[in-house]
Symmetry: C2
Subunit: 245 residues, 2 copies
């Protein structure tokens, strides 16, 4: 069987997240599988690089699937472009070695979290960025971000529902970039735990508002207690930017 | 009675356009009037600088209304911010002279039309820009734009439903700006006729695709026949940017 890798962009607003659900076809994975199964005239299951939350978005989610279809990659791309809904777009299709696995082979991932930081909200970004009206101290946020960068046990910064054997991950970089009222926090790591980007961003915003001292961000790491970190911020500002293999 | 000017931003996707309709409350004007009437405890009617089409957007639509309310402008702004839906935002409230009229006193208006010019569409802009996959010759489009700039009878470039006494208008500038795949056509004029921005943009795109010669754009002006110009492009890429008084 052939092994095909696809790169996917999506506006997650209308969906219940990436992962296929038993009684709800309204997921990104479900939509793609249904189009691919029709195309290949066989049951196609795709393996994503990981889940994304309901309402979260992607510029470059990656998945792979096995198929007996004889369509070439250009035909597959065209078929997907024609039959997927307008808010899910496959931007790249590649033929891979048999052993390529979109989840196991991940080397690093990049997420961006977008914040509209202005007194008034932005009517055009209400589903695409979190609105934070408070003034933010970006320098303090950068100090906190530097403390989180590196290899740590992120138990305090992931959902208590996380079931991974180890909560140790390496964050390669956290960049905080402001352009006018738009603030973008870009995180790159060898892996992210359940809700990790949303909790880190929520905590950095608490630091920016002056509610958490940057130094305490390190202490919170050491205590390994989710309750000590900031809130899990809304998924609507969250984008999976890139998956590296 | 006091005379209040408001400046409004809106994502027009969900609405049937600016103008209040008898049997449909789902218009921008209708939504604002209903909140203002509740606020002022009297029937408030607003006068917009002009209509915008169903699905078209605004960064700075302007309207005025008369009221007996004693609320100051900050309280009015706060009330509107609290009670208007998230996709309609009043960004400015000002006390005006008695004779200010948001439609009669317009000196110029600026619109922008956004185009996503890439082989693939953009899932995030599907309601906010027109997708044009063809390669566009921007230089040819600029030549055509220069011909349309100035004082002309725009009968060929407005809907045949237009009921104005005169179709002569002065376009001060048409700027065509590309940044990556995003093309923005910005038009400033002393006034725009019904569908004029959408027809001019539709025609400029025909020029960009090579279907209309830039020189013919001037001939089309002279013939005063709507059928000769390009198509009326979708409203979803259209934004009223600014109204000057």
């Amino acid at each position: 069987m052939r092994n095909i890798k696809i790169t996917i962009q999506y506006d997650g607003t209308r969906y219940r997240g990436w992962q296929r659900l038993k009684n709800d076809s309204n997921t990104i994975q479900g939509k793609i599988e249904s189009v691919l199964s029709r195309m290949a005239e066989e049951n196609v299951e795709i393996i994503g690089s990981g889940r994304t939350d309901a309402g979260a978005h992607a510029y470059g989610q990656v998945a792979n699937f096995k198929t007996n279809s004889s369509m070439d990659i250009h035909e597959i791309k065209k078929y997907l472009y024609t039959y997927l809904p307008e808010d899910i777009l496959v931007i790249d299709v590649q033929e891979m070695e048999k052993d390529f696995h979109a989840r196991y082979n991940v080397v690093s991932k990049t997420y961006v979290y977008k914040i509209w930081n202005d007194t008034l909200h932005n009517p055009f970004l209400r589903k695409y960025a979190e609105h934070v009206p408070q003034r933010l101290n970006i320098d303090q946020m950068k100090k906190a971000a530097a403390i989180l960068t590196g290899t740590h046990d992120f138990t305090s910064y992931c959902s208590s529902k996380s079931k991974k054997k180890s909560n140790v991950r390496t964050i390669y970089s956290i960049d905080i970039h402001r352009e006018g009222p738009l603030l973008e926090i870009t995180l790159r790591a060898n892996g992210f735990l359940y809700n990790m980007v949303r909790i880190i961003t929520g905590t950095l915003l608490e630091v920016g508002c002056g509610n958490i001292n940057p130094k305490d961000v390190g202490k919170i790491l050491q205590h390994k207690k989710r309750a000590l970190a900031g809130p899990t911020i809304s998924p609507k500002g969250l984008y999976l930017v890139e998956v590296e293999y």
